[in-house]
């Protein structure tokens, strides 16, 4: 029974299933938010989580990864993201309900009243500080900070992992070259975050939790933060072992586990299909990929803007709309590439290693 359960969990956590499962879970949360925001749900999640965390470490392989001192924060991250997503959703559902009944939001009702900073706010801060300090001291007494062997630039550990908060980026390296995963995408994440207040044309939902008044914003941010950041960090920490191969939570990190490399460039597919040898000029050779990318970035925004997103163009204006779409398309490239990798083993859409230009 135990072994079967472990095998089932290992099977379930394989990256494609893990990703598909996370997507389904998010969709379920959005659609079933009324149900998800019930107290019993969060109690059940944490009860199950506790049972799991009591049971699973009896497995030696699970214990090895979960008890690495630097992995404790990721468990905290997971728990707190689940909890706060629930808490936010709960207040959004309550507020949306109240607005439907013609009542003011919770925040509007409470906001009418002002209270003194001393004692009301000072006490909250004080108690938070004391609890947090106590928590930190206990944690520090219980878990020693790691120190491994002295630095040796000649001996590369396997796996070599970046600090945990960058593991989302390292996971993207599976699908993109470093110039995209490590430079362009993080750069656009920062630019995109900065641009959010100037791109969001929706004046509603300022200063209170609401889903119905800004569904796109909530879905967009939760997908970005939960699916492509937090869940990637968790994947990179717990499920990626030597050579960045996938390992289930109960699997032994075998140095010799090999995943066959069968990935193929788009250009190879194309010239095989046409039945001609690959041209030597890289620009001609990669023309199919280059044209698809140009089409993706140059045609998609105007086409969508003329049709389904006409309303958005109107409320945002041309310049903002275009900036928004280009950032969005860059991020969309990631799931697109992931799907292409999983379905047709695509390596590069455009592959010009001569110039380090691989997409």
């Amino acid at each position: 029974m135990g072994e079967q359960l472990k095998n089932a969990i290992d099977w379930l956590f394989e990256p494609t299933r893990y990703f598909a499962g996370s997507v389904l879970l998010l969709v379920a949360i959005f659609l079933g938010r009324k149900w998800f925001s019930k107290t019993i749900v969060i109690v059940a999640i944490f009860a199950l989580g506790t049972v799991f965390m009591l049971w699973a470490p009896s497995d030696p392989d699970f214990r090895t990864i979960i008890t690495k001192p630097d992995n404790v924060p990721i468990v905290i991250l997971l728990g707190s993201v689940v909890f706060f997503t629930w808490l936010a959703m709960r207040q959004a559902v309550i507020n949306d309900e109240r607005v439907k009944e013609g009542k003011p939001t919770l925040e509007a009702e409470l906001g009418k009243k002002k209270v003194f900073t001393w004692p009301d706010l000072v006490y909250i801060e004080f108690i938070c500080m004391i609890l947090f300090t106590a928590f930190l001291i206990i944690w520090s007494l219980k878990v020693q900070a790691p120190i491994e062997e002295p630095a040796a630039t000649a001996r590369t550990p396997n796996p070599s992992k970046a600090p945990w908060y960058f593991l989302g980026l390292q996971e993207m390296l599976v699908y993109f070259d470093p110039w995209i995963a490590g430079v362009v995408l993080p750069g656009f994440i920062i630019v995109g975050l900065c641009a959010i207040p100037y791109l969001d044309p929706n004046p509603r939902g300022n200063g209170y939790y609401t889903f119905n008044e800004r569904p796109f914003a909530w879905v967009f941010f939760m997908v970005g933060f939960i699916l492509f950041w937090v869940s990637f960090v968790i994947l990179g920490t717990f499920l990626r072992g030597p050579n960045w191969s996938f390992f289930g939570p109960f699997e032994y990190w075998d140095l010799h586990k090999l995943e066959p490399l069968v990935n193929v460039d788009l250009s190879t597919y194309f010239w095989n299909f046409v039945g001609k040898p690959k041209p030597t000029n890289p620009l001609v050779r990669e023309a199919p990929g280059i044209l698809s990318l140009l089409g993706f970035f140059l045609l998609v925004p105007p086409i969508l803007g003329k049709t389904v997103l006409r309303g958005l163009v109107k409320s945002m204006g041309m310049a903002r709309y275009n900036l928004f779409m280009h950032l969005l398309l860059w991020f969309a490239l990631l799931p697109i590439k992931m799907l292409l990798r999983w379905t047709i083993n695509l390596k590069y859409i455009v592959g010009i290693p001569e110039w380090f230009f691989n997409v």
């Binding site: 009418k112 003194f116 908060y165």
Partner: protein, 258 residues
């Protein structure tokens, strides 16, 4: 006993510090906030809706609190640490071996991890409450820079123990810089920047070299990261936090329905 307390409260020393009676009247509560340098970060009165834990999750406050813990524990660690390739590792090791019940390194490390988490969650809550909308656009941007600084602080600190974990994590992390378009020697476009057959961008002068002060993570990188970690980045973060808090108040306090 009561008399003793009263005497203390009437003494010149006490009254020179606290210019108000016990804060249990509206007047004294106002004065308690207004006359205290630190409490004065706050307005005298706040909207009931904004201070509920369920609204702010106290995440911004906790991030700041963790930053303070980092400053104190980090200062203590600096007394025992030399940023040189032959001493750094031994110093860290000595902290564990020679200090009974020493938990400064642990506090510093775990609080740093927590700070990364709390700053993410803070951003999450600011987004979900729509608090970046006018008039708070600018403060959101200050926040984004603080987020980057928090990650950089953590990243530079990760190298300092100078063990395998540290060096290789920074190697993997900084390898990305090698691929910066035009600025990294393995980045797209870099090979176009050549002059008479001579590459302008190579492993000895590209973006990664600038970050690490060398072609690999060595002593130069250690010193560079140390200075950034202990002086440069904390200074920048402190200044921006001051701006951030000031703007929270100038933008009308913690957000609420307009």
């Amino acid at each position: 006993m009561q008399k003793l307390f009263d005497a203390i409260r009437r003494s010149q020393i006490w009254r020179s510090i606290f210019r108000h009676g016990y804060p249990d009247t509206p007047r004294n509560r106002t004065l308690a906030v207004l006359s205290n340098t630190f409490l004065h970060l706050h307005p005298v009165k706040v909207r009931r809706s904004g201070i509920r834990l369920s609204y702010t999750w106290c995440m911004g406050g906790l991030t700041f609190f963790l930053f303070l813990i980092e400053t104190i524990t980090g200062l203590l660690l600096m007394f025992y640490y030399h940023p040189t390739a032959d001493k750094a590792y031994q110093d860290i090791w000595a902290l564990r071996e020679h200090v009974p019940l020493g938990i400064m390194r642990e506090m510093h490390r775990w609080a740093a991890h927590l700070m990364v988490i709390t700053v993410w969650l803070h951003m999450y809550r600011v987004f979900l409450t729509g608090s970046y909308k006018p008039p708070r656009e600018f403060n959101w941007n200050v926040g984004v820079i603080l987020l980057v600084l928090t990650l950089l602080l953590s990243f530079t600190g990760y190298l300092l123990p100078w063990d395998q974990l540290a060096v290789w994590a920074i190697t993997v992390g900084s390898n990305m810089a090698r691929a910066t378009p035009f600025l990294g020697h393995e980045g797209p476009g870099a090979s176009l920047l050549s002059f008479g057959g001579l590459n302008l961008v190579h492993a000895g002068d590209d973006a990664r070299f600038g970050l690490l002060a060398g072609r690999f993570v060595g002593e130069g990188a250690l010193l560079r990261f140390y200075v950034l970690h202990c002086v440069g980045l904390p200074l920048a973060a402190s200044v921006l936090m001051a701006v951030h808090f000031y703007r929270v108040r100038k933008d009308g306090g913690i957000s609420g329905p307009l």
